[in-house]
């Protein structure tokens, strides 16, 4: 009985163990696609370069506008977004005090001119009266002393008139200067568009105070276009074989604008965005074909080799003896030592050890 039980138990254990092992043994391997060959590629001749792209945009020329004087904004006819003509008023400062003073001064000068004319007439009439008296003295045979005194009196009055006129002229000149200053001040209190364009920002509103030479508005000129993009190092740009922009479907030649190192450093230290700027090689053509706001991709080509024998980066292996590739020789892998030249992130130039058209294996 015991033996029978043992036998049954052993059989059950065997069945059990056989069942557990079956799972791994019976799962089939995934079938590799038939006909798919090992990765190989023929060495070919072509251009070797590294292409980097930087996103940017076509931008208008923007001029910062300010008042040369301080004051309070009276009105802002040139509000943000407004299209304006050259000479159009953008912002007016409150110039009532200056205008009032100008009008008062003009009235005063006008009155003074009239009053001076009357004063001159009166002085000349007085001199005329003295001359009549002198003639009377002469005709009455008055003595030398009397006539000489009268002549002196006339000379004194004439001298006094000349002196008064000169003093008046000095005062008039002073008023004229003040008038001109006021006129200039009034001109300075009116900000006009230096060119036709669009106000892209007006940073003040009626009632705001402004300081001399502080920016109050920005005017864009859509006829003067340039390009800006993500920042790229000046040294990198200098080493480039070619720099150009693609806008829409067209290629445009561009020229890097020199970097103001001080401004660059200041912006970097302040944690502000730094961009690279370019001018169009043919500004007139650019203006004719493009408009502000268009997306642009700036391409920088570096490490350019015109006619290089190239293989994929993964084809070149290295060991202690140096670089080598595996060449396909009628289905057999054959090690071939090679000498490499330039490279980018994709391909390697082979300068020695391989011929154009020879097929090399590429490592996964």
């Amino acid at each position: 009985m015991r033996n029978r039980m043992r036998l049954i138990a052993s059989l059950l254990a065997l069945v059990c163990l056989a069942g557990c092992g079956e799972q791994a043994a019976t799962a089939p391997e995934l079938v590799e696609p038939v006909g798919v060959q090992a990765d190989m590629e023929a060495a070919h001749r072509g251009e070797l370069y590294t292409l980097a792209g930087y996103s940017g945009a076509v931008e208008p020329y923007v001029e910062e506008l300010s008042f040369p004087v301080q004051g309070q904004v009276e009105s802002t006819p040139g509000y943000s977004g407004k299209k304006v003509e050259q000479g159009e008023t953008l912002i007016l400062l409150d110039s009532r005090a200056e205008q009032e003073r100008l009008e008062a001064l003009q009235a005063e000068m006008e009155f003074q001119a009239q009053d001076n004319a009357y004063a001159d007439s009166l002085a000349e009439l007085e001199i005329e009266r003295l001359r009549v008296e002198l003639r009377q003295l002469w005709s009455s045979g008055a003595g030398y002393t009397a006539t000489a005194l009268k002549e002196l009196e006339i000379e004194e009055k004439e001298a006094l008139l000349r002196q008064t006129q000169e003093l008046r002229q000095i005062a008039l000149d002073s008023q004229q200067q003040e008038l001109e200053k006021l006129q200039t001040a009034l001109d300075n209190m009116k900000l006009t568009a230096p060119f036709a364009g669009r106000v892209v920002a007006c940073t003040v509103e009626a009632g705001s105070g402004v300081a001399p030479y502080a920016a109050v508005a920005y005017l864009a000129d859509d006829t003067r276009l340039s390009l800006s993009c993500e920042y790229m190092d000046a040294g990198f740009l200098a080493s480039a074989h070619e720099v150009y922009a693609q806008i829409g479907g067209e290629r445009f030649e561009i020229v890097p604008r020199p970097v103001d190192q001080e401004e660059y450093t200041a912006r970097m230290l302040a944690g502000k965005e730094v961009r690279s700027y370019f001018d169009f090689a043919d500004p007139e053509a650019a203006t004719a074909q493009l408009e502000s706001g268009q997306f642009a991709e700036v391409f920088v080509v570096t490490g350019y080799i015109e006619d290089a024998l190239l293989v994929p980066m993964g084809a070149v292996l290295t060991d202690s003896k140096g670089a080598y590739v595996y060449v396909d020789n009628n289905g057999q892998r054959e090690r071939r030592d090679v000498k490499t030249g330039g490279r980018n992130q994709l391909e390697v130039q082979i300068v020695e050890g391989l011929e154009e058209g020879e097929v090399v294996y590429v490592k996964d």
């Binding site: 254990a13 006909g35 009632g207 502000s292």
Partner: protein, 368 residues
């Protein structure tokens, strides 16, 4: 007896274990149907593929927008010694040019006007009196001249001319003095009129100075009412990501579809156009091509723009790209050969990924 029982127990346990193992081994039962026979059969390749195409890259950006009136006005008190009587408007009120917005009382302004009026009247009286006196004297001098002769006539003639000149000079001086005093009167009257602050244009009240209540004194220069004109409206769009650029074309619609579809406009101002110090509002202003329709725009709307647009670039399906150790690869299928190649990618769009280097038009790529 106990040995027999123990043996039975062990046997039963082993039997149960064997049954469990059998049931837990699906491979045994599923061995035959793990892969259908047709899938096991050899085939050339079984990859999903996509083709590299030269196409147009477009990347869209959408932002929320609200109506904005850029013509802003501040209405302020110009007079010293002013006290607020009352506001006649509140925020969101629409007003016409000339409507009274606030009423002030200005200390002593009526007295100033009365004094200035009296001064004008005094000068006018003095002038009339002075002119009359001088004309009388001139008349006397002319009469004397008429009776004179010889040397006496010569002197009297000059005296008549002098008095004529004096009369004209007096008139001029008095006219000037009167004009000055009239200006003072005008100022006082203007101050008197300044007790009512009026709307400079047709528009809408943005806010009133809430720190002032009736009876509070109001400093000269204090702004009491902020308002905007309604004749010019633009849409202000969130531009926190700085993707909207000046002069970009924009399509505007609203979530509730109140507007007709496809309203177009242009970005006319962005914060990016000015130095960082100047503004931090991160908005772009969009002017609609049809200016009239701006007034119909509801509270909120959506503005969509193509922030990137390039024609004739190499695009691949985004699931053709694999990333390993920070490098991007594609797998080309060429002449039944899988070629894993590194590529240099540009930006991604909803239509695919732009490839700068590493593929050619027509290349067949393995997806996923």
């Amino acid at each position: 007896m106990s040995r027999i029982k123990r043996g039975r127990r062990i046997g039963a346990l082993l039997a149960a274990l064997a049954v469990c193992c059998y049931l837990a081994a699906p491979g045994v039962r599923a061995q035959d149907d793990l892969l259908p026979p047709d899938e096991v059969a050899p085939q050339e390749y079984n990859y999903k593929t996509g083709t590299v195409e030269r196409t147009t890259l477009v990347r869209e950006q959408q932002g929320r927008g609200t109506i904005y009136y850029p013509k802003l006005y501040q209405v302020k008190n110009e007079q010293a010694g002013a006290t607020l009587v009352e506001y006649k408007v509140k925020a969101r009120d629409q007003v016409k040019a000339g409507d009274v917005l606030a009423v002030l009382s200005i200390e002593g302004v009526d007295i100033r006007v009365q004094e200035a009026q009296r001064a004008v009247e005094r000068i006018q009286r003095e002038t009339a009196q002075g002119v009359a006196e001088r004309e009388d004297r001139l008349e006397d001098a002319r009469e004397t001249l008429a009776e004179s002769s010889g040397y006496g006539w010569e002197l009297q003639n000059i005296e008549v001319q002098r008095q004529e000149t004096e009369l004209e000079r007096y008139r001029t001086q008095q006219a000037y003095a009167l004009s000055l005093q009239q200006k003072e009167l005008e100022k006082a009257q203007k101050a008197q009129a300044g007790t009512e602050l009026k709307a400079p244009v047709d528009g809408e009240i943005i806010s009133v100075a809430s720190d002032l209540r009736s009876g509070d004194s109001v400093d000269a220069g204090k702004v009491l009412v902020y308002m905007h004109a309604l004749d010019v409206a633009v849409i202000t769009v969130d531009n926190s990501y700085h993707t909207l650029r000046y002069n970009m074309e924009v399509t505007v619609d609203d979530p509730r579809s109140i507007l007709r579809e496809g309203l177009t406009g242009r970005v006319v101002a962005t914060d990016d156009m000015v130095p960082d110090e100047t503004t931090t509002s991160n908005v772009a202003l969009v002017e609609l091509d049809d200016l009239e329709v701006a007034a119909e725009i509801p509270g909120l709307c959506n503005a969509t723009a193509n922030t990137a647009y390039l024609e004739n670039v190499l695009m691949v399906p985004s699931n053709a790209i694999t990333l390993e150790d920070g490098r991007t690869y594609v797998t080309k299928l060429k002449d039944n050969m899988l070629q894993k190649r590194r590529v240099i990618t540009g930006m991604n769009t909803k239509d695919g990924t732009w490839i700068l280097q590493g593929v050619s038009e027509g290349d067949v790529l393995v997806l996923e």
